[in-house]
Subunit: 407 residues, 2 copies
DNA sequence: CAAACTTGTTAAATAATTAAAAAAGTTTTC
DNA sequence: GAAAACTTTTTTAATTATTTAACAAGTTTG
């Protein structure tokens, strides 16, 4: 007995995770069911203590609607955000709050076997120490850099197992929970779509300014991943005739002219050749402190650093011009760790658009700076689990105690 | 009484237009309804003589399924395909066949008022002379170049009325039928998606090689139009540092290095400076004959012409490299009038991908030449009407004799 | 040639929507 | 400034739509 009502109820729970305080009318529209049905289902969810009333919303010209929210302790997810150097693990509840503090580990993505096992152990540890019974966990969402096939659960760039074995299946088998992976930039875009600057947008480009430059595409209201899941390879579009060799093997990639890594390198070069600046060459050697110092210098108005960011911003803008021509987005959102530099990005990007973009195309496109910042990837990883909640709940119904070989 | 059954029936008719010879099981899956319901509806449609049985399909390991097709005379559409110089008008039936020969008129898109009235008159004429009662027409689909807002029905580049008045509403009012417009390249992509090389593909890029270079995007199985409907502005992405001024006002656009117009110009230059070739400078002055002659020369193996096409192809390839990086499509389809040159395009494009694209990204991307050719835009215009059939049939139910001010 | 599988048919059960009216606000109008 | 008119939300009952389930009829596979 699959009971369609259960499917609908799960859909309501999912919607209430993505958006708090929805009214019954809102929900009936979102889940595309009639009002009486939706109301009955909500009633049952409230009776089961999965959902609570959260008071009356303001009227939109009629009776004030009762609003509902999902109980934060109904279920939990493990969110994992990886970059080349640091991996963050967190347990997150239904109101997107951290259950405990974030676990930080230093994992080298290139040493597959050992790194993967450490990751699995740490995730298991996080579940244990959370004190939450395992049945309350619905899944594990992981964001990492690389070429990732979301469906197959393979990362072709890092952590790839022999014989193209799926790392999601491998991990799910060991951890006893469904595992989902996606590209870091895609998850940042998902976070922006659901909880950030792209909320409600149907077409947005989320630029992940990090040590490289990533791109997550929101098209027709959903994350776009492409045929094999490799869409958004923004940093390697051949845009410059600078003859600079990129690590990808080609020359003139966008990444050879913009990225935090490049800014860092140019900063060191500049200082070594005598430029005055608040920056300190010594601390710039370390990635993490370099990042901190660069952002601080921008915020303090250091002219040399601002110059570096402006040049990088202009080059991002040249890439954005291509995006706007091809995809006519509603919004361009600057996210990822680089977004901490704030407004500084806007002018040079706008300048590049003025020069390289047809006016009609960009005049209605807004450029926004994300305020999700460093948390974006972690939130996106949690959202990834909930995106897949339909399938998860189906599996939970089907098999007692999870049939994990399926995942 | 909206009768949901009618909505479903219309959906079935729509699906049978897009795909002949579907079985009841196929249809029940496509329209997402149960088999018994689908079967009952088909039964009724057959009884009403809107649909016919077309025999048994081959078995896939069980009982052989009965297949169905829509009757060609159930309803009709007017398809209009415009370019800068020539406008084609045709009446098309439910099996995508021309009811009579195509009407060709020479319309200058820049003279809005007069051109629009001529167009309206010619469409009315085509409906009249077809001998088909007007009630059997469900709508008019028009493809034209320019920046087009599909929803508002405005072409910002050509035929734009004062005060941003909608040309679809204007025409619908005068013609008494719903009118839909879209960008020429988008309609070519739609034709490829529904009846051509992109059939069944979820992610494909359709390149419209014409006097300019257009792009229609198929993303997640549907035509992607962007926030305002301007997506696919491929020919003006800033890809070259050639300093050449494009008519759009910018320099280095893709269009400055590839297009049939450019090939034509270079052909004339070459011949005037003494290159030997089968091409004849005189006839190259006229657009239409130039096109014919260039394609003929390629097919006959004229070395100089092939050289010109190869260079243009290589530059298209550079643009395609950008597309593949950003959107990871399953297929790249070369369509539009230029596709008549055939296989000649493949090698130089592949060459450009080898040089400018990350291997992992393009190794599973197929490049295909369309065989819809010159008919693509006309078929796409008809398909555009059927894409909107849901709304049309709803309107037909709602109002007796069409409430056209709505459109 | 039996097992497995796909398609086709029918009747009974259930799920979901519609329609109509009540309740609770907001805005307009005199 | 209060009643009328309009909106939106909530409630309930009646109707209709859709699915499920069980079985029959063809095909293929091993």
């Amino acid at each position: 007995m699959t009971e369609k009502r259960t499917v609908c109820k799960n859909d309501i729970l999912k919607q209430l995770y993505f958006q708090e305080n929805l009214s019954c009318v809102d929900l009936s529209i979102i889940i595309e069911k009639s009002f009486p049905l939706t109301q009955k289902l909500i009633e049952e969810l409230v009776a089961d203590n999965l959902v609570t009333e959260t008071g009356y919303a303001v009227s939109s010209g009629g009776r004030r609607p009762l609003t509902y929210a999902i109980q934060r302790n109904v279920m939990y997810m493990v969110a994992v955000a990886m970059d080349q150097f640091v991996t963050k693990i967190a347990v997150i509840d239904m109101q997107n709050h951290l259950v405990s503090s974030v676990t930080r580990i230093f994992l080298s993505l290139t040493e597959t076997r050992s790194a993967l096992q450490v990751l699995i152990d740490k995730i298991a540890g996080a579940i244990d120490t959370s004190g939450i019974p395992k049945e309350k966990f619905i899944g594990i969402g992981i964001g990492m850099p690389g070429f990732i096939d979301v469906k197959k659960g393979i990362n072709y760039s890092f952590l790839s197992l022999p014989d193209n074995e799926s790392i999601t299946k491998h991990m799910a088998f060991q951890l006893g929970l469904p595992v989902f992976i996606d590209n870091d930039s895609s998850l940042i875009a998902l976070a922006e779509l659901r909880f950030g600057a792209a909320k409600g947008a149907r077409n947005a480009m989320v630029i992940n300014i990090g040590w490289g430059v990533g791109l997550g595409l929101i098209l027709n209201g959903a994350l776009y991943r492409g045929h094999e899941g490799f869409a958004g390879e923004f940093s390697h579009i051949p845009l410059f005739l600078n003859g600079k060799l990129c690590w990808c093997g080609k020359a003139g990639c966008l990444e050879t002219e913009t990225s935090l890594l490049l800014i860092k390198e140019r900063a060191i070069e500049g200082i070594n050749s005598g430029r005055v600046s608040r920056l300190n060459t010594l601390s710039l050697e370390n990635h993490e402190t370099a990042y901190q110092e660069l952002i601080k210098a921008v915020q303090e108005g250091d002219q040399f650093t601002i110059e570096l960011f402006s040049k990088a911003g202009y080059n991002i803008g040249k890439g954005v011009a291509v995006l706007i021509h091809l995809l006519n987005p509603q919004k361009i959102i600057l996210s990822g760790r680089g977004s901490a530099a704030g407004k500084i990005w806007e002018a040079p990007i706008q300048q590049a658009l003025n020069e390289h973009c047809i006016r009609r195309l960009f005049q209605n496109t807004n450029i926004e700076i994300s305020d999700l910042g460093l948390e974006a990837q972690l939130i996106g990883a949690a959202a990834l689990v909930m995106e897949n909640y339909n399938e998860i709940s189906f599996l939970k119904e089907e098999t007692t105690g999870f049939e994990l070989s399926q995942l």
